[in-house]
Each structure stands twice: as structure tokens, then as C-alpha cells.
């Protein structure tokens, strides 16, 4: 464990450095908070980076309306405990206002619609930096992302023309209407995140631990069942022991069959796993460049 702790320390130092650069270079700062483990780790790092002062960020949650009940409670508690402002913007509102249209059919997801709600929130709240928990090991388009990722006035990412990023000198200069996405835990792997959660004893929603849940199988992925979800005739709901490896919108979050009850057990399970965490994310399976396309449009 010695080796691991040493590299975790280096990753933590790097992430805290990035957080502080954000604090110094921007005005209206938010942490994109989804209720998942990566955003919980971000909040933890922000708490450490500015102690004993309060972190200079608000939390922004883009709510698809398809949540696990528990993550909302967790979110509210965390915000009030830290005394930070919690901002919530709803995809449903964007749909009602006609900003986006709701996808139909069994595979309907509000994942893409989230980008519109997010960009609208950024404009409305005059946010100039949104700090996210994206990691380069998650997905092949994310593997290309800078720590400080520039977005043009339409909120778009141009992966073919990213700013050079030398050493640890982060250039956050921008014109009016543009903004930045910043990813302090870019260099962390899923295993690093879990080991860090374990070594720092960070509290997580219990969804991450094994529990009984109604699930069904679609395209080789187990999905959590919720009353609003449309099933195909062949799909059958059953109850079993599972835990979440990632938590996002219910409609696209795969669950893992697992008996892991403790962080130690989760860490050994992750260390031995042969599939990536996004292997269970239905949203990435849509096309070859699904993530790149969503990111270009302004996704997290």
C-alpha cells in the first residue's frame, strides 16, 4: 500500500494546485455536482484546498429528473454541511420551455439534453468556470482533454484546436461570453479514486455499496429499474444484490452484481475488474464517437 499512498499524495497535490488556480483566475466558479463519486471527491479536494476558509465554489447540479432518490438527499446534506450554495437546474424546464425535445422510445435518455440545460445555466448565472470530475481514463475523447479546457461563446469544445498547456502553467484567459471547464482529477484512474476514498474515509451514498435492487438486462448491461422506464417485451425485472460503479442518470447507469460491502472490498473488486466503469454506461454505447460529439456540444 506504500507505493499507492505515495502516488495518491502526488495526485492530490496536483488536484489541489489546479483547484487553487481556478480560485485565482476566475470570478463565478461552480463545481459540477452530479452526486457521483468523482464529484464527491472533487468537493472533498476543494474543502482541503481552501481550509479553513469556505471553498470559493457553488455546487451546480443539472438534474435530469431521473435520479436515485438517495443521491438528492446526499447532495442537499453535503451542501448544507459545507455551507456552500447549491444551484439546481432542471432538464424538465428546458423541455417545457422548448429548448430541447424529449427523446422517445425505449432507449430514450436525457443525457444529451443535459448539455442544453448546462449551457443555459452557465449563461444565466454568468459562470466563467465549471469544475468537473471528468477523468482521462474514463473514455477515449476524455483522454484528450486539457486540465483547463477552453469553451467558445457557444460553449463548444474544439478538440482539434486545443490550447497548448505547458508544464503546470494554466492559461485561463478568455473573452467575454467564453468559459472554461477545468478537470482537477484528470490524471486519476478509477482505482485511484477508490483508493483515495478509502484512505480519506470519504462518505458516499450507500448506492455504491452492495444493496438489493430491482434491475433488468439490456444490451449486456444491467440497468436499475425505475417506474418511468419503458421496457422491451423481452426484458424482465428482477431483484438482486448489486452496487453502482458510477452514479448518473438512472436510465443509463449500469449496476454491477457484487457482494462488496466495504471500501476495502470495493477496492479489491475494482483492482481485479476486466471492464471499464463506462462499459456499464449505456450513453457511450450509442456510437463510436458518442462522447466526443456530446462534448463538442457542451456536455460535461
Amino acid at each position: 500500500m506504500n507505493i499507492n499512498n505515495e502516488h495518491l499524495k502526488e495526485l492530490e497535490n496536483e488536484a489541489i494546485f489546479v483547484m487553487r488556480e481556478v480560485a485565482a483566475q476566475f470570478e463565478r466558479k461552480v463545481i459540477l455536482f452530479s452526486g457521483g463519486k468523482d464529484s464527491i471527491v472533487l468537493v472533498h479536494l476543494a474543502k482541503k484546498a481552501f481550509w479553513p476558509a469556505r471553498m470559493p465554489f457553488s455546487l451546480l447540479h443539472i438534474d435530469t429528473g431521473h435520479n436515485f432518490e438517495e443521491t438528492l438527499k446526499f447532495r442537499d446534506n453535503l451542501a448544507s454541511e459545507l455551507g456552500v450554495e447549491l444551484l439546481v437546474r432542471y432538464v424538465q424546464d428546458s423541455i417545457d420551455k422548448g429548448r430541447v425535445t424529449e427523446e422517445q422510445g425505449v432507449n430514450a435518455s436525457r443525457n444529451k439534453a443535459q448539455s442544453v440545460t448546462l449551457l443555459d445555466a452557465i449563461e444565466e448565472l454568468k459562470i466563467d468556470v465549471a469544475v468537473g470530475g471528468g477523468r482521462r481514463d474514463e473514455e477515449k475523447a476524455r483522454a484528450k482533454e486539457r486540465f483547463f479546457s477552453h469553451r467558445n461563446e457557444f460553449g463548444q469544445w474544439d478538440p482539434k484546436n486545443q490550447r497548448p498547456e505547458l508544464w503546470n502553467i494554466f492559461n485561463g484567459r478568455k473573452n467575454m461570453g467564453e468559459h472554461f471547464r477545468v478537470f482537477p482529477i484528470s490524471n486519476w484512474t478509477e482505482l485511484d479514486v477508490w483508493q483515495y476514498i478509502m484512505s480519506e474515509r470519504i462518505l458516499l451514498p450507500s448506492l455504491y455499496y452492495t444493496h438489493k435492487r430491482k434491475i433488468f438486462k439490456r444490451n449486456d448491461v444491467f440497468l436499475a429499474w425505475a417506474p418511468f422506464m419503458k421496457l422491451k417485451p423481452t426484458e424482465e425485472v428482477f431483484e438482486t444484490e448489486v452496487r453502482c460503479r458510477t452514479i448518473g442518470d438512472i436510465t443509463c447507469t449500469g449496476v454491477t452484481l457484487s457482494a462488496a460491502q466495504t471500501l476495502e472490498e470495493i477496492v479489491s473488486e475494482i483492482a481485479a475488474t476486466r471492464v471499464t466503469e463506462r462499459g456499464g454506461r449505456y450513453d457511450d454505447k450509442r456510437s463510436e464517437a458518442a462522447m466526443e460529439d456530446r462534448k463538442r456540444e457542451g456536455y460535461f
Binding site: N2, I3, N4, E6, H7, K9, E10, E12, N13, E14, I16, F17, R20, E21, A23, A24, K47, K48, A49, F50, W51, P52, A53, R54, R136, D137, E139, K140, A141, A143, K144, R146, P159, K160, Q162, R163, P164, E165, L166, W167, N168, I169, N171, R173, K174, N175, S186, N187, T189, T273, R274, V275, T276, R278, G279, E288, A289, E292
Partner: protein
């Protein structure tokens, strides 16, 4: 930088690929991850599908890092991809960079944080201009460990003499660039020879495989260890009743070690104080060394903030409003000789103008050209800049953090150059 208990063997190694377009950099990374069983099942499935879709006969391992749509269409790398893997020996952060000259800025981005560079050479083509450019950039960035992989040995019948000839040419380049202790490994990234497993086709090669090499290379204690340097990023002032008088200077130690009680000079104000406490979250620690993100409180209330640098009174950095540097130019717009730019050196920002382009490097001959002062994209040159106020810095060779800077265009806000301070 951190050392573990066994002396100089660090547990985390950051390395970058380099070399000309199509020399096999991405394939090498794919092969490395594949043969070390670091590719996940769903990633592998995805690679196979994509390879089929692109009409390839076999699974193309370069697709593991070439993740952008345009990269897959064109079969080249455009921007750096970062990959992570671990063996029982070490953890690795890999930057797979593009070889195409048009994307040199992305290569520099990936290489700027590396401890080691692996520079690939196509055995059929030998040393090319891009091989030299990338070797030069690696030496400018002061990457201490350079390993040349002579790749595609399968296409030259695994010939020892081809390897030796290229090695001789590379040794000439390394010599000119004063690269210390370069290594040479004959490999086939596509077939796997000498990547993870020793090659059965090149019995004449007795050295380490690529993986064994990067697992065991001793990464020297960085020179960032010499003079204590602490650049302030931001000031932490809680203004709560509980911590009413707390004023912590937040930053990451950029060299040496600081301890409570140490005398420091705060630049640029030149005021002296001493360290009251060093905080890591709620803990007071006895020391902070290079790489540590901490908050420091001082025993006197003095003027310090973002851009300030704490240093010991007897180890002052250079102070000047004229700075000489080697610069890599990244922008499509050439350097404007009388133009104004913004210079960023750690957390410190100032305006600057270009005083002179002293010489430009001719990449093929590695000679200095004193007659050409037009700096266009991908050029490397020695410049003198004049800053609006004196900056405090060290030569890059002594400290990569206080000795590096970027130039930013005032109107576009783009990062137009990377600079390594020479004196």
C-alpha cells in the same frame, strides 16, 4: 517530486512518446497495454469493432489512443492522449503525442510534464527531421531520460546492422544535444518484439525490453530540489470568527524544503519574515518539500499575494526585467517583433515586449542561424524579452517551475509560445 523508501526509484513515472509521423508511437502504447494485460475487455471489443469498421485486416492497437473521430479517419494522432497503467513495479502516466509537424504544440504539451521520453524511429526511414526536432525539444525541456526505440524491425528482417547504423546516427544527434545516457532498443510495436516480451527474432539484442526499461530506470531526484522556492497561488482568508486572523498563503512548493521557523524573503516586496506554520488541511506539518500543496502562514503581516515568491535570504533567484529564453513558437501568426505579449512565469504575470530574436535553430543541422529572425509556427529560437516590471526566476536547467514561462497573445488570449529561461 517524491522519492520512495528505496532511494531514487519513484513509484510514479510520467513518460511521453515522440518521433516522426507514422513511426509507430500509438501502436507502441497500444502494444504495451495489450501485452501487459492492461486493456479492459470492453475496450478490446471496441478496438476490434473499430478496426473492422475502418477496414483493417487485424486489430489496430493505435486506435486505443487515437480516440478522436478525425484521428481515426486520417490514421494519425492530432492531440495528446493520456493513458494510465501499472505494473507491480510502478505506476505510469503516458502521454502519446502526435508526430506530425503541424501539431508540434501538442507534442510539447505532452512532453512538458514527462520524466522520460521514448523517441521512435522507423527502421526503414532512419533519422528524419521530425526525429531531430523532437529530440531537440526533449532536450530543451530537460527531460532527463531518453530512450530511442528503433521500430518496425519486422520490416527490415530484424537486421542488426540496420539497427546499428541508426543507433550511430542517433548517437550523433544525442551528442550534439548533450543528451546524457541515451538508450536504444530495437522493437516491433506491431508484432510485440521487445516491447513487453523479449524478441525471439533478435537474439543479438541483449538489453532490456521497453517495459523492463521503463520499470527499472532510476528517475533522478529532480533539480527542483536545490533552492527552496514557494510561489503563492492565492491567499486564504476565512474571515470567520473562529479563524479571524488566519492568513494562509496557498501554493505548491517549487523546490527545496520549507520548515516552520525558516526565514524567508517575500518577492517582489523584498520584505523579510519567518514561517509560522505550514498547513495541509487541518494538520500542521513539520516540513513541505518540492511538489507539496500547502498553505503557509508567516509571523509578520506583510504584503504578499498571488505571484509572490517565498525564498530563503541566502538563495535568491535572478531578478531582471530582461529575460533570455529558448522559445518554441506555437501560433499560426508569426511572432510580431515589436509586439506586446503577456508573460506568465509560475503564478506571476506581466506585460512584455520582444526585444530581440537572437538566433533561430536550424533543425536539420542543429546549427544556430543568426540571420533569420522571422519566427513562425513550430520554430525554435533564442529570444530576449523585456518585461513591464522585474520578474524573479531561475534558469530552467536549475528549476523547471521558476525557470519556465509562456507567452500569451493579448488580443486572442492564446498561448503562443513556451519559453525556457537560459540565464
Amino acid at each position: 517530486m517524491k522519492l520512495n523508501g528505496n532511494g531514487d526509484r519513484r513509484s510514479l513515472l510520467r513518460f511521453t512518446t515522440a518521433g516522426s509521423v507514422d513511426d509507430g508511437k500509438s501502436t507502441l502504447i497500444g502494444r504495451l497495454l495489450y501485452d501487459s494485460k492492461s486493456i479492459f475487455e470492453d475496450q478490446m471489443e471496441h478496438l476490434e469493432q473499430s478496426s473492422r469498421r475502418l477496414g483493417k485486416e487485424e486489430t489496430d492497437l493505435s486506435l486505443l489512443t487515437d480516440g478522436l473521430r478525425a484521428e481515426r479517419e486520417q490514421g494519425i494522432t492530432i492531440d495528446v492522449a493520456y493513458r494510465y497503467f501499472a505494473t507491480p513495479e510502478r505506476k505510469f502516466i503516458i502521454a502519446d503525442t502526435p508526430g506530425h509537424i503541424q501539431y508540434t504544440r501538442n507534442m510539447v504539451t505532452g512532453a512538458s510534464t514527462a520524466d522520460l521520453a521514448v523517441i521512435l524511429v522507423d527502421a526503414r526511414k532512419g533519422v528524419l527531421e521530425q526525429t531531430i526536432r523532437h529530440s531537440f525539444i526533449a532536450s530543451l525541456l530537460d527531460i532527463r531520460h531518453i530512450v530511442f526505440c528503433i521500430n518496425k524491425m519486422d520490416l527490415v528482417d530484424f537486421s542488426e546492422s540496420v539497427f546499428k547504423d541508426i543507433r550511430t546516427d542517433l548517437a550523433g544527434v544525442a551528442d550534439k544535444l548533450e543528451i546524457e545516457d541515451p538508450h536504444y532498443i530495437p522493437i516491433s510495436a506491431k508484432k510485440g518484439d521487445n516491447v513487453v516480451e523479449p524478441s525471439g527474432n533478435m537474439g543479438w539484442y541483449k538489453g532490456k525490453t521497453f517495459l523492463r526499461f521503463i520499470e527499472t530506470v532510476e528517475i533522478n531526484k529532480s533539480k527542483n530540489g536545490v533552492s527552496p522556492r514557494f510561489p503563492v497561488q492565492t491567499v486564504i482568508r476565512p474571515q470567520s470568527s473562529e479563524h479571524h486572523d488566519y492568513r494562509g498563503y496557498a501554493g505548491r512548493v517549487a523546490g527545496g524544503t520549507f520548515r516552520p521557523g525558516d526565514e524567508v524573503v517575500v518577492l517582489p516586496s523584498m520584505l523579510r519574515s519567518s514561517i509560522n506554520s505550514i498547513n495541509v488541511y487541518q494538520k500542521n506539518v513539520n516540513e513541505a518539500s518540492s511538489g507539496d500543496s500547502v498553505a503557509i502562514t508567516l509571523n509578520d503581516q506583510i504584503d504578499a499575494g498571488r505571484g509572490s515568491l517565498f525564498v530563503p535570504p541566502d538563495e535568491m533567484p535572478v531578478s531582471s526585467n530582461e529575460i533570455n529564453l529558448m522559445a518554441c513558437w506555437f501560433n499560426e501568426t508569426p511572432l510580431r517583433p515589436n509586439g506586446r505579449y503577456i508573460v506568465r512565469n509560475y503564478s506571476c504575470e506581466a506585460n512584455c515586449s520582444i526585444k530581440s530574436v537572437n538566433y533561430k535553430m536550424d533543425i536539420n543541422s542543429l546549427e544556430k542561424n543568426f540571420n533569420d529572425s522571422l519566427l513562425t509556427m513550430n520554430d525554435i529560437a533564442h529570444l530576449t524579452i523585456t518585461t513591464s516590471r522585474p520578474l524573479f526566476f531561475d534558469p530552467y536547467k536549475e528549476n523547471h517551475i521558476t525557470g519556465s514561462l509562456i507567452l500569451v497573445d493579448e488580443t486572442t488570449n492564446e498561448t503562443v509560445a513556451a519559453g525556457m529561461i537560459t540565464e
